[in-house]
Amino acid sequence: MSNLRYLLAAIRKDIGRILKDPLGILLWLCMPVMVGVLVNLAFGGGDGETPTAELLIADEDNSLLSGLLTGGFGQGEMAELIHTRAVTRAEGEREIYRGRATALLVIPEGFGDSFLNGEQDTLSLLTNPSQTILPGIVEEILEIMTTGGGLLREFLGPQIDLIASGEETGEDLLADQTVAGMAVDINNLMEGAGTWLFPPAIAFQNISVDTTAVTEAETGMVAEEEKTLLWYFFPSLLTLLLIFSGMTFSSDIWEERRAGTLRRGLSVPFPMRWMILGKFLAASLIIVTVILMAAAFGRFVLNLPHYSWLAGALFLALTGATLVAGMTALQVLFRTERGASIVVMFFVMVMMFGGGSFFPLEAMPGFLQRIAVYLPNGWALTHYKSVIDGHSAAGELLLPAIILISVFILCWTFCSWQIARRWGSDPS
C-alpha cells in the first residue's frame, strides 16, 4: 500500500514538473504539426486550383471529322484539364508568342478528306516554351487521339471508303440497303474483335468492383476512394508525435541524474523501481491525453473515416509509453549524455524515415515497407491502420498490446536495475 502511495506521489510530481514547463511539451507537439502542414502544402493540400491547359485550335478544314476532333477535347474529364478556344492560325501564333496559351493545334484544310481516303495528313502543334508540363499533356492526349483515329481507319476501312465514295458521287444520302449492309459488317467486325478487345477479365473486373462495394458497406471497411492523402498521412503524424515524446521524456533521466535527485531517490526507503515507474506513467498519461485529443481531432474535425479510432488511439498511446521506457533504457546504457543523445537520435531518425512516420508506409518502396514493420513505430502503425480502416477488429489489438506491455515491463526493470546499480549515483 505504501509502495502504491509512493508511486502516486512520483506520478503527481512528474506530471507537475511536465505541466510547469509547457514549452517542452509544445516543442514536441509542434514538430509533427509542422511536418504535417509542410507535407500537406507540398502535396497540393492548399487552396491552389488545378492548373488548366489553354489549347488554341485553328480549324482550317471545318469538316465533320475536324469538328469531332476539336469536340473531343471538351468531353468528360478532359474538359477539366484542357480549355479549348477556336482561333485563326495567325491569332493563335500571336497568342503563343505572347505566352497566353499552352499550345496551338492547326488542322489543315483537307484533313477530313485525307482521313476518309486513307491518305496521310499532318496536324501541327505549336507549344508554349515557357510552360513545361501542360504542353506535354496536350501532346500526349493528341497523340492518343490520332492513334485512335488511325486504328478506326484500319478496322472500318471499307465502310469509310463507302462513305467517302458517296461523297465523291455527290449523293447526299446512302441507300437503306447500303446502310444496313454497313451495319451488319460493323457488327461482325465488333464480334470478331470482341474476343480480344473485350476479354473475360474486363467483364470479371466490372463484376468484382460491384461486389466489393457491397462488401465494404457490410463490413465497415474504408473504401479506397475515401483514403485521401491526409488519411494515409495522419497516422504517420501521430507516430511522429510518439517518437518525439519518447525522446523528450526519456532525456529527463539525465536531468534527474545531474540534479542528484536519482541519488537522493536511492537513499529513501522505497525501491528505485517505483520512482522510475512513476516517471514512465506520468509521461504515459500526458501521451494518452495528447494522442486521444489528436485522434479525436482527426476523426471529428478533419472527418477522416477512421473505424475503432478510440481503441486505435489507446493502442498508439501504449506504444508511446513503451517508446518512453525503451528510449530511457537506451539512455541509461551510456555514461555520458552526449553518447546517449547521439545513439537515441540515430534511432529516432531510423524510425522516422524507415518506420513510416515521416512518409506514409504506402508511399515507401516495397523493400522499405518490408523493413518498416520491424521498427517499433512501423509495427505499431501497421496494426493501427489495420484497425482504423476496418480490416481488423479492435480486439485484434489485444495481442500486440500484450507484447507492448511486456516490453514496457522489461525496459522498466532494466532501467531500475541499471540506475540502482551505479548509473543513478555516478556523477561522471
Binding site: 545531474r258 542528484g260 541519488r263 529513501v268 526507503p269 549515483s425
Partner: protein, 310 residues
C-alpha cells in the same frame, strides 16, 4: 547511532574507501574532513544505502544497511552534495514529495512541510518554483527535505558548498539544532574552519583511509604545540635537510622540494632568525615566509603530508 566497521568500497581496480571504522553517537556531530576525492562521498553513499559496500559492516540504529536496507534507510535523512531538488516545482511540493518518499502521508505530511518551511525560513516563498531561488535558499531547502521525517540519523554531504557566508551560518545553526535535539549527525566537509566550528568529533580522511580521529581537543594534542613555517624560494633539499639536522635538530621537515619548504618547530616566532640563518648558509634564496599557529590544518598537513585545498 551509526557504526561503520572496516568499510571497503572499490570500483573495479579503483579503491575509493580502504577500511574505515568509526562510530557516530546520538546528539553529536561527527565530521569527516578531507580533500575532494578523499572518499567522503563514497563513505556517505555506502552508509545511505546508495552503494553497496565491497566489504565491511554498516549499522544505522539497530539495522544493517545491507540486510535491512528499508528499515535502516527509514532511520536516516540524507542531504546530498548536489541540490537534489526539482527546480520546476515549489518548495512545498519538493518537501511533500521527499517527505512522502520517507513514509509521511496525509495531514502529517502537510503539517510537517509547513513546520520545515518555517524552520528553514522559506515559508514566505513556499509556493514559488524553486528555480527562482538563490543558491543559499536552495541549500536550505535541500537540508529541509532531509529532515522532513524527523530522522534520528542525519547524513550531510558537504551541504555548504558554494553558498554565501550568511546562508552558511544559518545552515550550520540548523545542523547544531538537530544535534541538540538528539539526532546523530554525520557531516562531511573539506572546510577546515567548518569542521572546527561545528564537529564534536572529527575523522581526517584521505585516499579512502582515516589518518586521525577524535575530538577537536584530542586532535590538537596530536599536533602538539609546534608551529608550521612555510618558506618559498630556491632550495637544495639534500643540503637543507643535512644543515637542519646538524644545527636545528628540533625542526621537523614536513615537505621539501626545490621551490618550497614546510617545517614544524616550537616557538617559530622566536626561532625564525636561527632558521633563516641556517638556510642562508646552505645557499638558499628565500622569497616568502609564513608562520601558522597549531590548528586542525597543521594536523591535516602532518597526517597527510599536504595542505587541504578545495
Amino acid at each position: 547511532m551509526i557504526t561503520v566497521e572496516d568499510l571497503h568500497k572499490s570500483y573495479g581496480d579503483t579503491v575509493a574507501v580502504d577500511g574505515i571504522t568509526f562510530t557516530a553517537e546520538p546528539g553529536r556531530i561527527f565530521g569527516l574532513l578531507g580533500p575532494n576525492g578523499a572518499g567522503k562521498t563514497t563513505s556517505i553513499d555506502c552508509i545511505a544505502g546508495v552503494h553497496k559496500p565491497t566489504s565491511g559492516r554498516i549499522t544505522v540504529g539497530e539495522f544493517d544497511i545491507v540486510r535491512n536496507a528499508r528499515q535502516a534507510k527509514a532511520q536516516m535523512g540524507v542531504v546530498p552534495q548536489e541540490v537534489a531538488l526539482y527546480e520546476e516545482v515549489s518548495a512545498r511540493e519538493n518537501l511533500h514529495f521527499w517527505g512522502g518518499a520517507c513514509g509521511l502521508k496525509g495531514a502529517t505530511l502537510k503539517e510537517r512541510a509547513t513546520e520545515v518551511l518555517e524552520l528553514i525560513g522559506l515559508i514566505d516563498r513556499a509556493e514559488e518554483a524553486i528555480k527562482k531561488y538563490s543558491g543559499g535558499m536552495k541549500r536550505r531547502l535541500n537540508f529541509g527535505c532531509g529532515i522532513m521525517h524527523q530522522p534520528p540519523v542525519l547524513l550531510l554531504d558537504e551541504p555548504t558548498v558554494g553558498i554565501d557566508p550568511q546562508s552558511r551560518v544559518r545552515l550550520l545553526d540548523l545542523v547544531r539544532e538537530q544535534a541538540a535535539a538528539g539526532v546523530t549527525v554525520l557531516y562531511t566537509t573539506h572546510y577546515m574552519e567548518e569542521a572546527e566550528a561545528l564537529c564534536d568529533e572529527i575523522a581526517i580522511i584521505d585516499h579512502g583511509t582515516i589518518h586521525a580521529q577524535g575530538s577537536l581537543e584530542e586532535l590538537r594534542t596530536l599536533v602538539g604545540e609546534k608551529d608550521m613555517v612555510r618558506l618559498t624560494g630556491t632550495f637544495d633539499p639534500g643540503t637543507v635537510s643535512r644543515a637542519l639536522s646538524d644545527n636545528l635538530p628540533e625542526v621537523e621537515i614536513m615537505e621539501s622540494d626545490e621551490e618550497a619548504l614546510l617545517v614544524s618547530m616550537m616557538d617559530a616566532a622566536g626561532n625564525l632568525v636561527a632558521l633563516l640563518g641556517v638556510l642562508h648558509d646552505t645557499g638558499a634564496v628565500l622569497r616568502e615566509t609564513s608562520v601558522r599557529r597549531p590548528s586542525l590544518e597543521t594536523l591535516f598537513i602532518k597526517m597527510t603530508g599536504k595542505e587541504l585545498r578545495e
